[in-house]
Symmetry: D2
Subunit: 342 residues, 4 copies
Amino acid sequence: MINVGIVGGTGYTGVELLRLLANHSQVTLKIITSRSNVGTAVSDMFPNLRGRIDLKFSEPSIESYRQCDVVFFATPNATAMHQVEELLAAGIRVIDLAADFRLKDLSVWEKWYGTAHVSPQSVEKAVYGLPEMNREAIKQAQLVANPGCYVTAVTLGLLPLLRHGLINPATIIADCKSGVSGAGRSASLGTAMCEVSESVKAYAVKGHRHYPEIRQNLRQLDARADLVFVPHLMPMIRGIHATLYADVVGDISKVQALYEEYYAAEPFVDVMPAGSHPETRSVKGANDCRIALHYLPDSNKLVVLSVIDNLVKGAAGQAIQNMNLMMSIDEATGLHGLGFIP
Amino acid sequence: MINVGIVGGTGYTGVELLRLLANHSQVTLKIITSRSNVGTAVSDMFPNLRGRIDLKFSEPSIESYRQCDVVFFATPNATAMHQVEELLAAGIRVIDLAADFRLKDLSVWEKWYGTAHVSPQSVEKAVYGLPEMNREAIKQAQLVANPGCYVTAVTLGLLPLLRHGLINPATIIADCKSGVSGAGRSASLGTAMCEVSESVKAYAVKGHRHYPEIRQNLRQLDARADLVFVPHLMPMIRGIHATLYADVVGDISKVQALYEEYYAAEPFVDVMPAGSHPETRSVKGANDCRIALHYLPDSNKLVVLSVIDNLVKGAAGQAIQNMNLMMSIDEATGLHGLGFIP
Amino acid sequence: MINVGIVGGTGYTGVELLRLLANHSQVTLKIITSRSNVGTAVSDMFPNLRGRIDLKFSEPSIESYRQCDVVFFATPNATAMHQVEELLAAGIRVIDLAADFRLKDLSVWEKWYGTAHVSPQSVEKAVYGLPEMNREAIKQAQLVANPGCYVTAVTLGLLPLLRHGLINPATIIADCKSGVSGAGRSASLGTAMCEVSESVKAYAVKGHRHYPEIRQNLRQLDARADLVFVPHLMPMIRGIHATLYADVVGDISKVQALYEEYYAAEPFVDVMPAGSHPETRSVKGANDCRIALHYLPDSNKLVVLSVIDNLVKGAAGQAIQNMNLMMSIDEATGLHGLGFIP
Amino acid sequence: MINVGIVGGTGYTGVELLRLLANHSQVTLKIITSRSNVGTAVSDMFPNLRGRIDLKFSEPSIESYRQCDVVFFATPNATAMHQVEELLAAGIRVIDLAADFRLKDLSVWEKWYGTAHVSPQSVEKAVYGLPEMNREAIKQAQLVANPGCYVTAVTLGLLPLLRHGLINPATIIADCKSGVSGAGRSASLGTAMCEVSESVKAYAVKGHRHYPEIRQNLRQLDARADLVFVPHLMPMIRGIHATLYADVVGDISKVQALYEEYYAAEPFVDVMPAGSHPETRSVKGANDCRIALHYLPDSNKLVVLSVIDNLVKGAAGQAIQNMNLMMSIDEATGLHGLGFIP
């Protein structure tokens, strides 16, 4: 059994880790920490866990982490970087669900996250946890930077295109739609039911933190890649829908077969038949990414539709997928839940 | 392995059976029938099943049912009664998720369902599939009548009270709130997003088919029992919240302990701490029923709050729980999924 | 023209007052105050007002109030009581949308609102602003206590019954369902989209502040009246649905005609045909209350369904109705907006 | 007073016309027709109209139309074209809310609408009813083709850009998000609450009927214009959010001032401050279009955000605006309702 700890499990990625790990056959949940909730049963905060998880939130400490083989940081940005080296030194594998180790260029990180990075050496060690790009490296990793939710949907949508040079990499537009849970669990007017239900809006058009992360991924595939990224808030809880546009170069006639082949062995990427329109609900609660392709001959553009559950493949599910890889067990363990229809 | 068939799996209880059975370790899904969709892959109708269930809808026939140990009828009311005897005669166990075998009094059934019953003998054989009332009988049953969704929430909420004679059984009011999926999957103006979202209404105040079924359950516990039952349609997909009112008789001071004890061994009934307010989302996707008690001394009334997911404990999950009992495997197999927060 | 001021217009009742007053033909909006937003244009906070209301939030002061004939307090509870006497002394009419002047029994008020009342004399002067009960007194009032939202729906639903002694007044159960806007506009986890959407729950079963207010109204009609009141939170923005149960005494056969007659002259109460099921959306944005009656002969209970928009007839619309009465203009001025379907 | 008739008022544009016309000071509603509902009171179908509109649906006939100065066709596509000439010959002005007279090129119309056009001469007479493009022609029109909802949002968003040649007109991408009411009022699985709530999807990526209509508008402004148009279905009732992308050519530095000036005199177009993110709810129920501009220097793209209520500025409200222009009364009469927050 893998002994697991969770740091800062009071947010939505935390409770989603708990929901998924409760049914993970190879995991023993040892500790979950929260400074401000020490002594509270997690099932008092999240009643869906009643009768299934009887842990209490505890004070974070290196001693308690030592019981763990793997520790997930489900903390705010710029938190894990303060503690990670101590855990690594103790031989504990770490998966950070926040952004601390995602960007290799520290000056870019510091610009977008507004603070100095205190652990450049851990950034260097960190493996970017997108299995579809980095599976072998993840297997060897001590520290995994779990990708952002938008970033996962967009990167998986574009990966085969860029690998095969089928689009002009400077013409990418990513018009992305996210459920409200992407904004986290906090008392905020901006995520109140009466403010966001029955309404749609774009936000952060001038710049969103996932932009440099997407760009970093795309440039690993093609150094010329860049994109326009506009996120939108949807009146729903879970789900991301990325609508991706790019100018085609070269022969696009086999693009459907190419995607199907590219992702054939991937346990969590589903290329739908040409002309499909994936719905976010088809992955609600599941670790799947569904992709569909549409070529528009009049404009010579390819439109890629890519959907995930932001809390699963976009956060907690992918983190568990990474853990499975790091611990050399079946990559899909604990991730067999299907999407919810209805 | 248990060989399973599903008759009429194109509705919401059908796809929910598929979602749950896909992760049931003891089940092999053999057939799923739908006369109007023969040859269609179920995953083409329900994309959440893509890559997980590769069955096609087939023509119903006794030959194909013979491959099955258990057959679920996820058909409209008054369908299973036409076929059940043939299956039982072939030694196949049957679980009907519709209402054909729920009411023991055929004249009552015929009044509420508006048609003659063609199989009185199967009604006689049928065991009412509420494990918390009938576990031992279910284990021996060849034919199980799976309870209605409202009925499950209300009966579980009142069971210990009536068993212990703590309320006046003639004073029960069940004010019930249901998500829209309870109305089934069909092209109907009455369940259109623009008709039911952002609105609440009562319906069928004069009489709902679940009323005689609840009354039948309650009268098994106390022959004087009766109730007022008012269902309401909620602007959400899944979930039932039953708010139950009754006049207290006798000593109510130990009611909390009594409920906890009564349900202590039940795998799927959770008595919350006194004064709790269960949320339907805490059981979304899960086979759980959560109950909380509030005694109001001024009016000497007990208020019981009982929540389930209408498609799981109120339909497909409970059907699988019944199958597990009938097949003598662990009652909770395949039913470990937790509720969704958020 | 009536010169109007609004104190504390940054909540949902404030913006709803603005939405309605913007189209009130007899009103000039003079000031809107908010200590924490002095200088901000109201249309910067509420973009629906752009181009229609060009006021800025200003510092509250008796000097600015002197420009006004009527001042609405859209402030938190226990705010207006500190300022009201000064305004009244200056000859300004006051309508309080909070609870400061609703309960005549100060000890009850202090128990439920958790603080000492600083202005008993203004409570004495205040007229309870339910036009269907107190129209003539409102016309003469200097100070109106605008009713609570639940209270309006419940009282209007029961008024003719109690006036005519048709129910046992000690058997009333009010099972009420409210949209989230009833909880106000604030940064709070409890009203976050991800916490309340796709879920239903009861709350405050042990006691809600609207309980003593409803009881006070009912006891004006029948001194023996009491009720059980259970509020529930609905996954929608606006709307209250009250489901009211009571034991019938006497001859109920003419109850439909009696309601129709009772409310025939009321501009904002609509008695639907017997057997109807009013939807909250039919009053969304409108100042209407729709009521339907169902007599259940088996249990000899009457079920009354009563719906309002909590922000209109339950708050801002009713406040304007009161203002119209106080200022001797047509009671319906500015309140002609119809409900939204869809 | 203007005597008004509505043909086919049983859909969402029909009831929205009724909601708005009920408060139009210059209109007398004379008839509303529906072959399948003759004799039914409109307020029985739409209870929000109870007490405000007491018309019954009647049989369509030229005799009854003769009472009207203006007739709105709120009928399915390919309906008005069969009747329009008879009405025009009788001197009745006609506004078609469907698509019969929107496309000037009949071969394009016939391709997208799948039937032969029976009234080419009326297409020739018809004025395209977008006041911001065609105000003077609308004033003289006998027949107005009311624009499509997506078309309105996109065209208003791009109008000043194309007039001033500030973008490359061949690079336009319109990623559009619509509430479900855009799909109309009908019994359809595709618009069921359980199918579309809590989910987002693109649809009709290969081609949507509003594409040729948008293109026709844009090419009136610049003959080289073309676009990629991808509509998406949102889990909400009302609202369209168009996110528009285009490559900038020339000097973009004054684009904000240019938009403000361009729309300064328009009663229903609101250019928000630079960098704003308009919400669809800010126009819910209102005839407004709100627009915000974002220039992205890295990619040299302009992003225009444009929101409307699809049933108001996208249908019934714009139709009334057109009627006001045709009848030479104040263009904004009856259209003063503000958006709903919350």
